[in-house]
Symmetry: C2
Subunit: 298 residues, 2 copies
């Protein structure tokens, strides 16, 4: 019997234990980071907004001129299979399309057969529930996010060296995570998350150069439903530092409070009531059949 | 007997046929393109400037805060072994360091054990010798190279989506390869190559935002030796279009003439005499013991 308990992957048409999930060193998905991906999550045995993730994934593939011989239904089945065999009730589920390998000796991406991979592993938190009661200490990095003129940020991609170096900078400066900025010092996003600043009854989140996150979208929908105004525009770092509340959004943890930026406490230095209200709303949606899809583990 | 004839790789301390050379889907080298690499080549059974490539590789690793338990001598031995078992007399030899995998559930790159990979495959040409007699048709892409404020270009890296999309644009516009630009339309570099424009007795090559290529360095050294002036500064696209000669430099093919940029022929539309002189000089250096290292295939 194969041991899928640490996670399962779909590779070359087969389900394999996560430890055996591998990609060719020569795949351009690795050698040129010529790939796109998406991540959905499973909570209490249910996928959350799976169709939205699959739609964005297909859109990203189209923008990179990639195609695979799988329908939406196929993708859904493969992702469910990964979770089902792993038995994981809380899972982080990634779908990936890579350029593949060119013909031997060729350097023309048009000669590549694009490849599809997927995997499910135990749920990953940017800040776990314990940490969320305190909030995260965020550092505004000096590194700039790769601009949209270089890589389309609406294509979810693996170009993360800016954010990785931002993380090292954050650790050096005593922080726990980082955001990268644009050329004028506006905050863009962090490794795997979008950011929101709340001032009075207005939410501000960066408009340009960001991944249009599904959790970001959920936060915007909830805030609007609760009667707040949500503005998508530039977010100068100083505006975030002087906000009433700041939070980040990610499939890897939902809505997570930031209680310190650089050396400055945000609000009263503890997670604020609006962030907490949104967190509650976010997790309550995980019971809503409109947003969820129950996995049959039998 | 294992078949190494299509190439050989060093993975997890073992030499394996290239078809079996794989990396975990979960390695951040793939999932976050958190990796650096270098490529040397073997010509007529000899490595060319191997030590320069190894030095740059170690420098790149340092800048990304990566380390591996291999000395310079170990790296050299591993690379030689990859070539030796493959039997390839002309080879493209890549060394790679990836961040590795974080501890389960962690998102902290400091918890990763960095990993080393290497492989040798048959020599790859950006333009093969036949194509070099005509020269390449280059397109100046609208895509901008990822700027140094986002990713340090002196760290050889896999962040290539700008260049891949530039290639697709080039094909759409009838070209054979592409260069990406900076915010002001200066040419930066192309997929795997640096660029030079020659006007009169002056060579111009972009100074900022580029990989400092070893073949670029060789071209600068040769041009200087031949009495030309070499200037490293911004290279506006129009200056390249109106140059006497244009060529690109890469480990994957050496010094290769560009004879058309967008819709405009360069010089008389055929490879120019200065480019040809440099090409001759480049391949002659492959006989020079100062630059080469003979592989013992027995």
């Amino acid at each position: 019997m194969l041991d899928f308990s640490h996670g399962a992957a779909y590779v070359d048409g087969q389900l394999v234990p996560i430890a055996e999930a591998k990609i060719s060193l020569l795949d351009w998905g690795f050698l040129h980071s010529d790939a796109t991906y998406d991540v959905a999550h499973v909570w209490k045995g249910k996928f959350f907004r799976l169709d939205d993730h699959v739609e964005r994934f297909l859109s990203s593939m189209g923008k990179l001129r990639m195609s695979i011989p799988h329908s939406r239904g196929d993708l859904r089945s493969i992702l469910v299979d990964c979770v089902r065999v792993s038995g994981l009730r809380e899972a982080y589920v990634e779908m990936i399309c890579t350029r593949g390998l060119p013909k031997p000796g060729a350097r023309d991406p048009r000669t590549c057969t694009n490849r599809f991979f997927a995997f499910a592993i135990p749920f990953v938190w940017i800040a776990n529930p314990q940490k969320q009661t305190e909030g995260l200490h965020l550092i505004v990095s000096r590194w700039q996010r790769i601009p949209p003129e270089s890589v389309d940020p609406t294509v979810k991609n693996y170009h993360w060296l800016d954010m990785i170096m931002g993380l090292f900078e954050a650790y050096d400066r005593g922080g726990e995570t980082a955001v990268v900025v644009d050329t004028r010092g506006n905050i863009i996003e962090g490794p795997g998350f979008n950011i929101f600043a709340v001032k009075g009854r207005t939410f501000t989140t960066p408009a340009r150069g960001v991944l249009e996150g599904i959790t970001r979208r959920t936060a915007i929908e909830l805030a609007t439903e609760y009667g707040y105004e949500v503005v998508q525009r530039n977010l100068p770092a100083d505006e975030a530092r002087t906000a009433d509340e700041v939070f980040v959004t990610s499939t890897a943890g939902g809505i997570m409070p930031i209680t310190k930026i650089d050396e400055r406490a945000i609000g009263s230095g503890i997670p604020g009531p609006i962030t907490q209200k949104l967190q509650e709303g976010y997790w309550t949606l995980h019971e809503d059949p409109h947003y969820t899809f129950k996995i049959d583990y039998e």
